[in-house]
C-alpha cells in the first residue's frame, strides 16, 4: 500500500505513515483552524489501510501543541485506529513533553474511550523556547 506523507508546516503536523517501513508517525504542532480539512486525507488513508493492514502496527504520536479543533480530529483518527486494532496488533505510543501535564492528560482520556493498547512515553523538551 502507498505511504501517506504530509510535511509539517508551522501549524500542521508531520504525518509519516509508511506500512513497508512499519512506521506510523505523527509529530509536531497541530493548530489549524480548519482541522477537519487537514485530517480528512489522514482518515481516508487509515480507512484504506484497514483493508490490508500489517499484522502489527505501532503508531507514534508526538504532538507538542494541539488546538481543540485538532483534538477532536485526532480523536477521530484514534477511533479509526480502534477499528484497525480489530485486524492488526495495534499499539499507540503517545509521546509527551515531560512538563506537559495537559498533553499526558489528553492522551489518558483518549485511551479510556477506546480499546487500544496505549503506551505513554515521556520525553525531555527540546528547547524551542528562549531561556
Amino acid at each position: 500500500m502507498r505511504s501517506l506523507i504530509i510535511e509539517a508546516t508551522e501549524d500542521t503536523p508531520l504525518v509519516y505513515f509508511n506500512p513497508s517501513e512499519g512506521k506510523f508517525i505523527m509529530e509536531k504542532s497541530s493548530l489549524p483552524e480548519n482541522a477537519v480539512e487537514y485530517y480528512s486525507p489522514v482518515l481516508e488513508w487509515l480507512k484504506e489501510y484497514q483493508q490490508t493492514p500489517n499484522p502489527k502496527t505501532v503508531f507514534d504520536f508526538s504532538l507538542d501543541y494541539l488546538n481543540t479543533a485538532s483534538s477532536k480530529q485526532i480523536f477521530e483518527v484514534i477511533m479509526m485506529i480502534n477499528k484497525i486494532s480489530a485486524v492488526s496488533d495495534v499499539t499507540l505510543r503517545w509521546h509527551y513533553d515531560s512538563i506537559d501535564e495537559d498533553m499526558l492528560g489528553l492522551g489518558k482520556r483518549f485511551s479510556h474511550l477506546v480499546n487500544i493498547k496505549f503506551e505513554f512515553i515521556e520525553y525531555e523538551n527540546e528547547d524551542d523556547f528562549e531561556i
Partner: protein, 382 residues
C-alpha cells in the same frame, strides 16, 4: 453585562474595550513591552510585516515601513548600554506600530543614560531642521567619510529613518532618575495617498507621541506584555504565538498559556465569521502578568442576538466541577454530529488548562453589535 464584578481583573476587560474602540476597524495597533533579543525582534518584525502587508498596498511603502522598524529595533538592542540598575525598566523597553487613518507610526522606547541623551538630542534636532535635499547630502557625506558621531553628526541609521519618513522625527526623554531617561522615539510614515506629495509640509503631530506614551503607561500599570489590536488571520496569529513563545521560558505554565492563547485567538475569527466583511476578524488580544498570574484577555464584535447563547454556554462550563468538565469533554468527542465550529471544546479546554473561571464581558456598541471580551487567568506554578 459581565460575569464577576469583583474580579481583580475586571479593569482589564474594561481596558480591552477602551483600547478596542480607540482603533478604527481598518487600522491596527500593536505594542510589545519587554526584553529585546534578536529572536524576539525577528518575531516582532514578522508580525508587523504580516499586518503591513495586509494594509499597505504599495511595495515601496511597505519597504519604508519595514526599514524603519528594523532600524528602530536595532536601536533598542544596540543601545543596551544601561547596567543592571535599570533592568526592570530596561525590560520594559517597548516597540509599537500603529496604523491610524492610513498613516503608519513606529515608536520605540528604551532607557538611555543622560550622556547618551545629551549627545542624541542635538543630532535629532539637527536632522529635524534639514530639508530633503540637505538630508540626502548629509547621507552622502556620512557614507563617504564614515560616522560623524565624534563631530556631533547623526549616524546613518537616523539619517535614513528621517529620509524614509519624510516627516519630523518626534522624540521625548522622560526622566527616570538623575542618571537615566526613558527615550520615546516615533517615526511617522505617510500612507498611500500622500506618498508622492514631494513638497508636503512637515507638520509635526505632537499629540501622536503623547498618545502612545499614555497608552504605554496604561500597559505598564497593568503589566501588559503584548497587545494586538486589529484584524486576526492565520499569519498574524502564528506570529503573535511566536513572539510569546520567544518571550517565555518553557514551563508547564507557558505551555498552558500558549494553548489557551491559540483557542482565544482562533475564537476571534470564529466568532466574527458571520459578521460584515469590514469588521470580520477584527479583535484585540493582550497578555499580562500580575500577582504571579498570567492573564489573557481577548475581545471582538458579536451580534447582540448571540449574546444569550454564549453566556449560557460559558456559565454552564464555569459551573462544572473538574470531573464534570472531563465528562463534558468526552461527550463532545464522542458526539459525531456537530460541525467543527460547534465542538464547544474551546471553552472546556480553557477552563481545564487555566483551572479558573472564564470571565466574560459585554458592552453594547449599537443595535446590532456588542463588544465581547473573554478572560482567562493562570496561576504561575513553576
Amino acid at each position: 453585562m459581565h460575569s464577576e464584578k469583583d474580579s481583580i481583573n475586571y479593569n482589564l476587560v474594561e481596558l480591552a474595550y477602551q483600547l478596542f474602540t480607540r482603533v478604527k476597524d481598518s487600522d491596527f495597533e500593536y505594542i510589545y513591552r519587554g526584553g529585546f533579543s534578536q529572536k524576539i525582534s525577528k518575531n516582532l518584525l514578522s508580525l508587523a510585516e504580516s499586518n503591513v502587508k495586509n494594509t499597505a498596498g504599495r511595495t515601496d511603502l511597505k519597504n519604508r515601513i519595514y526599514f524603519v522598524m528594523v532600524e528602530g529595533l536595532q536601536n533598542i538592542t544596540k543601545h543596551g548600554d544601561e547596567p543592571e540598575a535599570y533592568l526592570d525598566i530596561e525590560d520594559s523597553g517597548m516597540f509599537a506600530i500603529q496604523r491610524k487613518l492610513g498613516k503608519y507610526y513606529i515608536t520605540t522606547g528604551n532607557v538611555i543614560n543622560k550622556e547618551s541623551e545629551r549627545s542624541l538630542k542635538p543630532k535629532l534636532d539637527q536632522l529635524n531642521i534639514l530639508e530633503k535635499d540637505q538630508l540626502n547630502k548629509l547621507r552622502k557625506e556620512v557614507l563617504v567619510g564614515g560616522e560623524l558621531s565624534d563631530k556631533g553628526g547623526a549616524g546613518l541609521g537616523l539619517i535614513e529613518m528621517a529620509r524614509k519618513s519624510g516627516k519630523k522625527l518626534v522624540y521625548e526623554f522622560e526622566p527616570v532618575d538623575d542618571k537615566a531617561s526613558f527615550f520615546y522615539f516615533r517615526t511617522e510614515i505617510q500612507g498611500e495617498q500622500s506618498l508622492y506629495q514631494e513638497s508636503a509640509p512637515s507638520i509635526v503631530d505632537d499629540r501622536s507621541i503623547e498618545d502612545v506614551k499614555s497608552l504605554h503607561k496604561k500597559l505598564n500599570e497593568e503589566n501588559v506584555l503584548i497587545n494586538f489590536n486589529g484584524k486576526f488571520n492565520r499569519e498574524n496569529i502564528l506570529s503573535i504565538l511566536s513572539v510569546i513563545k520567544g518571550q517565555m521560558n518553557i514551563s508547564s505554565t507557558s505551555k498552558k498559556v500558549y494553548g489557551i492563547m491559540v483557542e482565544m485567538l482562533q475564537n476571534i475569527s470564529k466568532h466574527t465569521n458571520n459578521i460584515e466583511e469590514n469588521i470580520k476578524n477584527r479583535g484585540i488580544f493582550f497578555l499580562s502578568k500580575k500577582d504571579n498570574k498570567f492573564i489573557l484577555t481577548s475581545g471582538n464584535y458579536i451580534h447582540n442576538s448571540d449574546i444569550d447563547g454564549l453566556v449560557k454556554k460559558i456559565d454552564g462550563i464555569n459551573n462544572l466541577s473538574a470531573e464534570d468538565l472531563y465528562e463534558q469533554y468526552n461527550s463532545v468527542l464522542l458526539d459525531i454530529t456537530p460541525s467543527e465550529k460547534k465542538t464547544g471544546l474551546g471553552f472546556i479546554d480553557i477552563k481545564i488548562k487555566s483551572e479558573n473561571k472564564i470571565i466574560y464581558y459585554f458592552k453594547e456598541i449599537d443595535n446590532n453589535f456588542s463588544f465581547f471580551a473573554l478572560q482567562s487567568t493562570i496561576q504561575i506554578k513553576d
